[in-house]
Structures are given as structure tokens and as C-alpha cells.
């Protein structure tokens, strides 16, 4: 049996912010794993430690306890071979650079030549459907386009893992649907592994092969639900599929139960 290698392995992650009486335990015990070429969604109520988990995964935060592995290597700083898309696109793109220069920026750190940077940046922009917007500055583009530029930038280094932190939370519903489909298309074409953090339940099921449901702070994994939706997916037939509806219902139930705890 040929099993794909595990590209992400999170073991008993735990993190508390601050010390003393004001400290906040964001994550109590979170573990999950992702196979190469698959996509995972992390969903949970607001205030769950979703962003904390993501920051630990991308090396921006050192967890107090637990171990993380990306592509078999322990995460001590920012791991190699990842691309990250943040929620706030307007603040994650550099306003003094044109879109194509923003997209090519990660290649600078690798010492790529100017012309090669431009070629690969234009390729990445083409992948997100913005081939003719290279010369524009990010603040000259609409929100949806800016997020596409941010996605292109995450893709330009041809990472093996794409990590997205609530990437479509700040755009309108129609744009969100377009960007979700774009993400699925990219995943199909590049065979990338993907982790998406979201608070949108429908999105978590639509985009992933497995949904990890987190509890409120201090977070634990409430459930790991496989998604048996066939590819290619689309907004209409996939969302009417019995597997979609079943998983969606389960996730809703878990999250509603969590929210009830807050009230009681």
C-alpha cells in the first residue's frame, strides 16, 4: 500500500499567552496530521485558538508545549517550502511595490535574478487570473483582487504547503465563492497540500478533505471529520452532495454546543 507521506504533524500543541493572573490559555491540547497533497480545514468558534495554532505552524510563534513537524522536519523557525496567506490583504501587501513586485518579493530572499523573478511573478499572477494587473499597486485594486495577489505571492516560491488564515473573511460572499473555487483549482493543478483556518462552516467543508473542529479556549480537538466529496467541486452540486450536508451538520452541532457552553 502506497501511503502519501505526512506533510504536517501537530502533536499535543499547547500554548498560554502571558503569565500571572492575566494569562490566557489559548490552546490546551491540539493534535492532527495532514497527508501530502490533501487539504485540511480548521474551524471553530471565535476566540478558539485557531490563529495560535496557525502561528505555531508557520513558525511565527514558539509553542510552550508540543511538537510540530512540517515535511518531516521539526518546526523551530519558519519552515521551508510553505506559502502563507493572511486575512488582512490590504495590510499584508506592501504599498510601495507594484503587484508584480509584491508577488516576486519572496524570491528576493532566495537571490533570484531580476528577470527570473519577474517571469515567475507573472506566471503566478496568471494562475490567479490577474495577468494584466501586474503594474497596478495593490491599493488600486479591489479587495478580491488584492487577496488574489496575496495568493499569487504565496504560490510564487512553489511551496509544498499552502497555509491560509481566514483568507476570505474580509470579502463579500460572491467574491468569496470565486476565491474558494480559485483555491480548489490551484490545489488540483499544483497538487499542493493546504491548511485553511476559517470560521465559515460551509467553506471549511467545501475546501477540505478533512475538517478539524476546535473547541473554545482553551482549545482541544472536538472532532476530525473526513469529507468524501468528489473532485472537481463546484458551488452548486458539491453543496448539495450528501457528504457535504452530513459533515456540515456535524460541524454545526459541535460549534453550537460550544456556543451554548458560553451561555450556561
Amino acid at each position: 500500500m502506497n501511503r502519501s507521506p505526512i506533510i504536517v504533524d501537530v502533536r499535543h500543541l499547547s500554548h498560554t499567552y502571558g503569565t500571572g493572573p492575566g494569562k490566557v490559555q489559548a490552546v490546551l491540547d491540539v493534535s492532527f496530521a495532514l497527508e501530502s497533497g490533501k487539504s485540511l480545514a480548521i474551524v471553530g468558534p471565535s476566540g478558539a485558538g485557531k490563529t495560535t495554532v496557525l502561528r505555531c505552524l508557520t513558525g511565527l510563534l514558539r509553542p510552550q508545549e508540543g511538537e510540530l513537524f512540517v515535511a518531516g522536519e521539526r518546526v523551530t523557525g519558519v519552515p521551508e517550502g510553505i506559502g502563507v496567506v493572511f486575512q488582512d490583504y490590504s495590510r499584508s501587501l506592501y504599498p510601495w511595490l507594484s503587484s508584480v513586485r509584491n508577488v516576486g518579493f519572496p524570491l528576493r530572499a532566495k537571490g533570484t535574478s531580476r528577470s527570473e523573478m519577474r517571469r515567475r511573478a507573472m506566471n503566478a499572477l496568471d494562475m490567479v487570473g490577474l495577468a494584466d494587473m501586474g503594474a497596478k499597486y495593490p491599493w488600486q485594486l479591489s479587495g478580491g483582487m488584492q487577496q488574489r495577489v496575496a495568493i499569487a505571492r504565496a504560490l510564487v516560491t512553489e511551496p509544498s504547503l499552502l497555509v491560509m488564515d481566514e483568507p476570505f473573511a474580509s470579502v463579500d460572499a460572491q467574491t468569496r465563492a470565486e476565491l474558494e473555487d480559485l483555491t480548489l483549482r490551484i490545489k488540483q493543478d499544483t497538487r499542493m497540500s493546504m491548511i485553511t483556518v476559517t470560521h465559515d462552516i460551509d467553506e471549511s467543508v467545501y475546501l477540505s478533505d478533512r475538517v478539524v473542529v476546535l473547541s473554545k479556549r482553551p482549545s482541544v480537538v472536538l472532532a476530525e471529520l473526513p469529507v468524501e466529496l468528489p473532485y472537481p467541486r463546484d458551488q452548486i452540486s458539491s453543496k448539495a452532495h450528501p457528504s457535504f450536508l452530513a459533515v456540515r451538520q456535524l460541524v454545526h452541532q459541535h460549534i453550537s454546543a460550544e456556543k451554548m457552553k458560553e451561555v450556561s
Binding site: T58, V78, V84, F86, P95, W96, A109
Partner: protein
Amino acid sequence: MSERTRSTWQGLAGAAVLLAFLGGTWQTYAAKADHFFLPTPEQIGARLADEWLTVDVAHLFLTSSALTAIGQTFATAVVAWLIAALLGICLGVLTGSVRLLDEITQAPFLLLRSIPGVALIPIFIAILGLGSDMRIAVVAIGCVWPVLLNTAAGIRQLEPLYLDVSRVMRQGHAARILTVLLPAIMPKVFAGLRVSLAFALVMTVATEMLAGSGGLGALAIRYRSTFDVSGLWATLAVLAACGLLLNAVVVLSENSLLKWHKKWRSASE
């Protein structure tokens, strides 16, 4: 003609009309009143033409004595300003990013910058003598504060996400400072540089007046002590022109380096 060009021309036309009106009023009043200390613009103009200007293009239309005086004032102001810029940016980046340094330097910096730069001149003369070293040193110290404070503020207000993005791209520290930090704080830094240059000119002239060693400031004092009023006013006119020129240079370079910022600001209005 674009909207912006038209409004620029309108602005210039308006300014020209205003200046012509003020100049005309001044001329009429001064000619009538015949104050000793208030020459007419005509007299000042004649003086400028006599002593300051020539038809020699190679000397920038200036007489050799004019060139020497203006050259010294300019050189002192600009060199001191460049030193202050470098010092201010480095110290600003350090105090803006390292909390400990910021706290240590708060009180001493506050004390130092509360002293009007001009008041430091006699102390510097006592320590460093009357030469160009003293002049450059006192002007640099006097005009470092706008750059330092603005740079530190720029660092503190830096969007944290810019740094997160740089970190996930695995940029080295030096690359992060040069390609992310500096461009991001450039608008604030430039604002500080503009103010600092104005200070530099003021302090240079004041130093030259007190130290009496060449330049436009010393010239102004000489005219004053010989009661050469037209000469004094002519010197002031030249000083005003210098100030305008220096400001124009900074504004022009700001416009080209910070084109993105201007467009961004006008796009969000």
C-alpha cells in the same frame, strides 16, 4: 491639460498676483515714508543687481563674492543636514525598535532637544573654536531631532503584518530592514528631513552671525554694523531664495521617491 496641472498653474498665478500686490504696496509705501530701515524693493533690486548678480552663466549668474558667501552657507547647511539625517535615522531606528533603548534615552533626549539649538552655539565655539568643524557640528546637533523623532515614530507605527510577512518569507534581518522597514517608514522620515533642513539653514545663518566667519550670516552682520540697510535686505532676499531652493529640492526628490505614497493618499480621499 490635466486637473492637477491646471490647479498647479492656478496656484502659481495666484501667488504671482499676491506677490505683485504686496510688492507694489511695499514700493509705494516705502518710497513715500522714506524710512531709513525700510528701502524700496527697487533699491533692494538695484543692490542685488550690483553686488550679487552678473551675466556670467558659468558662475550661475552670481558674482564671485556672492558665490563664496552663498557657497559656504549652503555647504555648511547641507553637510550638517546630511550628518543629522544619517544620525537621526540610525538613532531613530534603534530607539523605535528597542524598547529598552527608548526608555533609557527618553529623559536625556528630552533635555537636549529642549535647548534651542541657537543657544548651543557659544558653547560649541568655546569647545571647538571658530572653524567649519564647529559650524557643522552645532548645526548637525541642532537639526537632528525632527529626523530622529519622526523615524522613531515611523518605526513604532509600523504595520506589524509587514514584519510577519517578511518573517514567513524567511528574510534575513538586514534584508528586512533595507527592503521592508525603510521603505515603509520613508514617508515619515521625509517629513522629518524637510523640517530638519529648514532648521539647518536657520542654525547655519545664526552660527555665521555669532561666529562671524564668512557665509551669508556674517555678511548680514557686517552690513548691519555699517548701517548698510539695502545691503542687509539684499542678503535677506538671497537667504529667502536659498531656503526656497533647498525646500524645492527636498520636495522634488520626495515626489519622485514617494510617488507611491502621494498616489495612495490621493486615491483614498
